[in-house]
């Protein structure tokens, strides 16, 4: 077993490098699109809101509005914006709460929560309240599960099923808190925030198409 190169590999480092590559791929695809000023300010605003929302809740384990805000952004503005807002919210809030090897993991996980919320939205763009709440609660658990992998490969040496299960059992109460928090935020604020963001999205697109028609009339 000792001679197995998989066993002796530095999994903590390997996984971080892999995650950084995934995040970099998303960022690069965003960078190449030459986003308009509206998209840039929108992403910065939502990322700041989601990041700020995390700080006052830092004392309560698990409960914070960040996941909800990231998901609703992804739901209204699409998968790419959702990922960007999630990744940036993690990065920016960690400037206040402390950067570390967990930063790429949080960036990836929150980014993916925004990404999947966009997949739920589909084409008709109506607010599917029940499915949104279920997805938000599910992400409460999934967030913990993905972060557990970091904890597992980073701290605990024998990577066996035994230690794996022990890690997941230990985090279960916190994940449940996170899931309940997400569901509550979605229940209370879901519809309101959806309306506000949707109105803003329409406002943006109206201004943009006005500009286009002006360009054409020239």
């Amino acid at each position: 077993m000792q001679d197995n190169p998989l066993f002796s590999a530095n999994w903590a480092l390997t996984s971080v490098v892999f995650l950084c590559l995934v995040i970099a791929a998303f960022f690069w695809s965003f960078e190449r699109r030459h986003a308009s000023t509206k998209v840039i300010t929108l992403i910065a605003t939502m990322a700041a809101l989601a990041g700020v929302g995390r700080v006052p809740f830092a004392m309560i384990p698990g409960v914070q509005p960040t996941t909800f805000l990231v998901m609703i952004t992804g739901y209204v503005f699409g998968s790419r914006a959702g990922f960007m807002v999630g990744a940036l919210a993690a990065l920016v809030s960690n400037f206040f709460l402390g950067q570390g090897p967990w930063t790429p993991w949080q960036m990836f996980t929150w980014g993916m929560s925004g990404f999947t919320a966009a997949l739920l939205a589909g084409k008709d763009k109506k607010f599917k309240r029940r499915s949104f709440i279920i997805l938000a609660a599910f992400w409460g658990y999934l967030f913990g599960w993905i972060m557990n992998i970091w904890h597992w490969v980073g701290f605990i040496y024998p990577l066996t099923w035994e230690t794996f299960l022990a890690t997941y059992l230990a985090s279960f109460p916190f994940d449940t808190l996170h899931a309940v928090g997400n569901a509550t935020f979605s229940l209370l604020f879901g519809k309101t925030f959806y309306n506000i963001l949707e109105r803003f999205r329409k406002k943006c697109s109206v201004t943009l198409s006005d500009l286009h028609s002006m360009d054409r009339s020239k």
Binding site: A12, L49, V52, F95, P101, F155, Y157
Partner: protein, 296 residues
């Protein structure tokens, strides 16, 4: 700023932290870990003063202890058996050593990151990466600027709501929650309106037009060249040494690795020189400053 290393060119700062962080994560040799942690600890205390000391004692020390204790509880490999746990599994010297090493590695990385946060301010980051990833670095600096702005605005909004009797601190729980919701939705609407205005303002000032340059106050001078050369030499020597097994260390089944041979010691010294460089720079700067002062 008091820190002399921060006055170097951002590229030097960034390369330094990349090198030190990577080395700290890669080299599990006990000597390297000890050097890295002690230098990172010293520099973070130099940079952040008592705050860093408190953080390190209250947060890092328990983390270190927990990580060091958890590992031998789950890990039963290694040849030197010290005792048997109640579950019948052996407690080995090697698993304790590995747990300690992993904990020290993590603590060193966190310490280095706290130094990184103090030295590599966002303007330096944007300056370095502004040309490679212009949109992203702009978003990052805007987000960081919005955070204090939103904090100030939420106070303004809640004060205004207080004046019309919608205070979050009074009334029944239900009323309070409703007032909180009102404040939040006002806040989010305000910040999105603010985003539209910022976007229009940026557009009218020619964002994204070709041929525009950014102002930066940084200059790559002779001092930075020397620092760069030092980084390249140290980094190169350490990496070659590592490739030739000069920093080899294994934890299982028995503790074994590169010992105190001349070659390995030269590598340790080189690593020490790299890790302690910012502190040395600061001490030298302080001396120079004092010497000039006493000259007057």
């Amino acid at each position: 700023m008091k820190d002399a290393f921060s006055t170097y060119h951002p590229a030097v700062n960034f390369c330094y932290f990349t090198l030190v962080l990577l080395f700290s994560m890669f080299f599990m040799h006990p000597v390297c870990l000890g050097l890295s942690l002690s230098c990172a600890f010293g520099y973070s205390v130099y940079l952040n003063g008592g705050k860093a000391l408190r953080f390190n004692l209250y947060y890092l020390l328990p983390l270190l202890l927990v990580a060091a204790l958890v590992n031998p509880a789950f890990n039963h490999e290694g040849a030197t058996i010290l005792a048997y746990l109640r579950s019948g599994n052996p407690l080995t010297l090697e698993s304790i050593a590995y747990g300690l090493a992993a904990a020290v590695m993590l603590a060193a990385v966190i310490c280095w990151f706290s130094c990184y946060n103090a030295v590599m301010t966002t303007d330096k980051f944007v300056y370095l990466f502004g040309r490679v990833i212009p949109a992203l670095s702009l978003i990052l600096s805007m987000t960081l600027r919005f955070v204090p702005r939103f904090k100030a605005q939420i106070k303004v909004v809640s004060d205004a709501q207080k004046c019309v009797g919608r205070d979050v601190a009074t009334g029944s729980l239900r009323q309070r929650a409703r007032h909180g919701l009102t404040i939040l939705s006002i806040m989010i609407t305000w910040s999105l309106e603010n985003a539209i205005e910022t976007a229009d303002s940026m557009k009218s000032r020619g964002y994204g037009l070709p041929g525009r340059t950014a102002f930066a106050i940084y200059r790559f001078d002779r001092r930075d060249k020397r620092a760069f050369l030092f980084l390249a030499l140290c980094g190169g020597y350490i990496i070659t040494g590592w490739a030739f097994g000069g920093l080899y260390w294994r934890y299982f089944p028995t503790l074994k690795g590169a010992g105190p041979e001349l070659y390995s010691v030269s590598l340790y010294l080189c690593y020490l020189a790299l890790c302690i460089a910012p502190v040395v720079l600061n001490i030298r700067e302080d001396r120079k400053w004092k010497a000039i002062q006493s000259g007057i």
